[in-house]
């Protein structure tokens, strides 16, 4: 069991990889009543072409299948419902799927170890029937329609579609109605057997727990014991030669909304950057965009003065394999003017030293705020485990050591020329 202490925070972190390949991370926060537990497989909606475990030939599966599988994992052979099993001890359970992960989680105060044992059991026992798969289709189609009615879903789906050419992240996580309808029990088992192997998964526990006990439960769990003797097998998934350019530079759609929305998405290629460089670039790009367009920026103040925009610009970033997408969304009738102004502002990709130091202070403060809440701690740890395959115990120091000079050097190496614009105009 490896132990790390998160610098500046009152949190100890323990890490161990079990015989089956399952890695367990336990962050101890002694003064918390709430505990957060999540079992994650490194498998999401982006994986639709791969070589199934034990086979040689690459196959294609329907879009949205990772999400479908997540729904079906709640079917048990004895007819019980895992969500109910958790609520028997007053715990709250849930699951989610994104483009690269499927995660099964619960939170609660009591019976944490028993619930953990149950989590590792139910996720290791797939039970799909033709009837359960058919039944789930109606539910998932209603879920799709619920999202399809939201303007933001239309906006984000269009952004991904127009930014990524070959990579499956161009499709919505949930897939399409046609894909949902054609998904079969056999497809689901194939995906399960390939991606729900413990060596492709990790367990994260945050709260007031004894790390030794947690690791013991994980070691004795069904998920670990079933796969102790498995040979280590690399999963082969399709690689996409995603071009640096975006698919569509500009698209306008009309929708039943009151205020038009505009999104500008930069596509950054980071394939030749080291992990260390990627970590730093993530921070530097955040500082850059937030200084230029955030709520304390001069640019936003001017835009508001001239009534080009009334509120704020939303900033977000999404890493996709070797790419990083950086997006900015505004709501305004003056979207053409807004776009011109953003382009002009981006001609100079430097910021003042004073702005840099203030933003750095904000980053460090955010890190401390994060440590007061188990869910935020879990969110932070999950991101570093997922992307960097390791936990950064000295993030505080890492942030402290960021410099304005280094930022200027690193930002210079980034190509800002690939971006895509989506406008949702009101009917």
């Amino acid at each position: 069991m490896k132990k790390l202490t998160l610098n500046k925070l009152d949190i100890d972190l323990f890490q161990e990889t079990l015989e089956s390949g399952l890695t367990v991370y336990v962050a101890v926060k002694e003064n918390s009543n709430r505990n957060y537990v999540a079992l994650t497989t490194r498998y999401g909606s982006d994986t639709v072409s791969f070589v199934p475990r034990g086979k040689k030939k690459m196959i294609d599966v329907p879009l949205g299948i990772a999400h479908f599988l997540e729904h079906q994992m709640f079917e048990m052979e004895d007819g019980t419902n895992p969500l109910e099993e958790f609520s028997k001890s007053g715990s709250d359970a849930n699951a989610y799927t994104n483009n690269s992960q499927t995660c099964y989680l619960f939170s609660g105060v009591h019976n944490i170890l028993e619930n953990l044992e149950y989590l590792l059991k139910y996720v290791s026992e797939p039970y799909f029937t033709d009837a359960s798969v058919e039944k789930e289709k109606g539910i998932i189609i209603e879920e799709l329609k619920m999202y399809a009615d939201m303007p933001d879903t239309v906006l984000f789906n269009t952004i991904f579609q127009n930014t990524m050419k070959l990579h499956p992240s161009k499709h919505p996580v949930i897939g399409t109605i046609q894909d949902i309808k054609k998904t079969t029990k056999e497809d689901l088992y194939t995906c399960y057997e390939t991606f729900y192997h413990p060596s492709n998964m990790y367990l994260l526990v945050v709260g007031n727990v004894d790390p030794k006990e947690v690791i013991e439960v994980a070691r004795n769990s069904n998920l670990n014991q079933k796969h102790i003797k498995d040979k280590h097998e690399m999963i082969q998934v399709k690689h996409y030669d995603e071009p640096k350019a975006v698919v569509k530079k500009y698209e306008k759609k009309t929708l039943d909304i009151v205020l038009p929305k505009i999104a500008i998405t930069w596509k950054f290629n980071l394939e030749h950057k080291s992990v260390e460089e990627k970590k730093k670039l993530n921070q530097y790009l955040s500082i850059l965009f937030s200084s230029k367009f955030g709520s304390s920026s001069l640019c936003l103040e001017n835009l508001r003065n001239e009534r080009i925009i009334s509120d704020i610009l939303y900033l977000d970033r999404v890493p996709i394999d070797d790419y990083l997408l950086y997006m900015m969304v505004g709501e305004t009738k003056e979207y053409d003017t807004l776009l011109e102004r953003i382009k002009t502002e981006m001609k100079d990709i430097t910021i003042s030293k004073e702005d840099f130091e203030r933003k750095k202070k904000v980053l460090i403060s955010s890190y401390i705020y994060m440590s007061d809440n188990v869910d935020s701690i879990a969110g932070y740890l999950d991101e570093t485990i997922y992307y960097y395959h390791q936990v950064e115990d000295n993030w505080y120091q890492f942030l402290k050591e960021l410099t304005w000079e280094e930022m200027n050097e690193m930002i210079k190496t980034i190509d800002f020329s690939h971006y895509s614009v989506v406008v949702l105009e009101s009917k």
Binding site: S89, G90, E142, L300, E301, K361
Partner: protein, 427 residues
């Protein structure tokens, strides 16, 4: 954790001393009787006070100061609590231990600046910042019903409370917004300071003497004290037959909302039994609605019920396909009847008790949770944690069955979307 309440004549000061958090949180709450016009006025007031102050004339100045104060947070929230409208200003900031000496004091002074030192010129709010706030609120009002769910909620409330002020909801109304001038809002602001009931909540590692002095020096509240009335809404007349209303809209999913008004309840029913009833009916994966409508008949993705102990009502919401409306309504009615007949697993009462044990513990993990606990105790006489635990233990099956006899459907509202599966295209 120590709770101290000080009656400072013009306002109550509630101090919750705890060393658990790295932050200090302060909520300053103003309340008065709820009116339709008040919704827009109070939201605009919140916007204006956070847009500009005497010494920080632009929103950028304010946000720069927040960043300088180690990412301190300041925001407002305007909500209805039964018969009362509550305008709440919130501040949270890191303890000096994580920043520098004097930072916390400065943050409190800045909260004082925001609430008590607005940007006033000639007895009215400064024109530019006033107009900017007005535009922000205008856009919020216009886009408030952009998703079908929010549109359905608005329309449902209009039908559910046809002759009552409770049909109105945030963020406001355009016709009211137009009427508000920089001068009339300033007059309203002064009346808020002079006649609203004020409660100040402070949670964190603070010295109560110091806090008391600090507030005495800077909080210029001159409320003439009178007795506050009950927040509880009493439903005068109850319908015998449900009213049925259908609207049509070009959406992919249909939204069904069912509202039940309850007669005057006993304190025990209101505080405990109602919530248990709602938990069994539509609280989670175990609930009858989830089981009957989603799991057995695959008719929806979301379905749930919410009980309001202050408003004396119970509301059910489901996202469904237009062709399944009749079937869904009959399954909902059937589920309600089943509770009345005691046809539900008694285990659910136990899990409700356990879920609440968890909730009570988790409240203590968050400063906002702790403040809300004492706020609700002050406003609507909810019990504090120990009493809650004792009272909840007493809940029985008979309580639930008796409560079920009081729940009668008042309004059935359907927002009918007309698209077929082939037409649904989230992209």
């Amino acid at each position: 954790m120590v709770y101290i309440k000080k009656d400072n004549v013009a306002y109550n000061l509630h101090i919750i001393k705890t060393k658990k958090f790295k932050t200090v949180s302060i909520h300053v709450n103003f309340k008065r009787k709820f009116t339709k016009e008040g919704i827009t006025l109070r939201n605009l007031l919140g916007e204006v006070l956070l847009e500009s102050t005497k010494n920080y004339p632009t929103r950028r100045d304010i946000i720069l100061e927040k960043e300088n104060l180690y990412r301190a947070n300041f925001l407002y929230q305007s909500v209805r609590s039964g018969n009362y409208a509550v305008l709440e200003f919130r501040a949270s900031f890191l303890n000096d231990e994580y920043t520098e000496e004097g930072n916390a004091k400065q943050a409190i002074e800045f909260l004082n600046e925001i609430i008590f030192h607005p940007n006033i010129l000639n007895d009215e709010f400064e024109a530019t910042s006033f107009l900017r706030s007005k535009n922000v609120l205008k856009e919020q009002i216009e886009s408030a019903v952009e998703t079908p769910r929010r549109y359905a909620t608005k329309r449902f409330l209009e039908e559910f409370y046809p002759k009552s002020v409770f049909q109105y909801m945030g963020p406001g109304y355009l016709e009211d917004l137009e009427e508000i001038s920089a001068k009339s809002l300033y007059e309203y602001y002064q009346s808020v300071l002079n006649s609203d009931f004020v409660d100040v909540f402070v949670c964190g590692d603070v010295d109560e003497k110091e806090i008391e002095e600090l507030f005495k020096d800077c909080f210029a509240i001159k409320t003439v004290k009178k007795k506050t009335e009950s927040h509880l809404i009493v439903n005068e007349k109850l319908r015998k037959r449900a009213k049925i209303v259908t609207d049509q809209k070009q959406t992919q999913q249909s939204i069904l909302m069912i509202g039940c008004k309850l007669p005057k309840l006993t304190d025990y029913e209101r505080k405990y039994v109602g919530r248990l009833y709602s938990y069994i009916l539509g609280g989670g994966a175990e609930s009858l609605l989830f089981q009957n409508v989603r799991e057995k008949h695959s008719l929806c993705y979301t379905i749930h019920s919410t009980f309001s102990s202050v408003d004396h009502n119970l509301i059910i919401q489901a996202g469904i396909d237009a062709k399944n409306v009749k079937k869904t309504i009959s399954l909902i009615k059937k589920s309600m009847k089943e509770i009345g007949a005691g046809k539900f697993p008694e285990q659910m009462i136990e899990s409700f008790k356990l879920v609440n044990q968890t909730v009570r513990k988790e409240i203590l993990d968050s400063p906002v949770g702790i403040i809300n606990l004492y706020r609700n105790h002050e406003y609507v006489k909810t019990d504090l944690l120990e009493k809650m635990e004792e009272e909840q233990k007493k809940l029985t099956k008979e309580d639930v069955m008796k409560f079920a006899s009081l729940v009668k459907i008042d309004t059935i509202y359907l927002l009918e979307g007309g698209m077929k599966d082939e037409e649904v295209n989230p992209q």
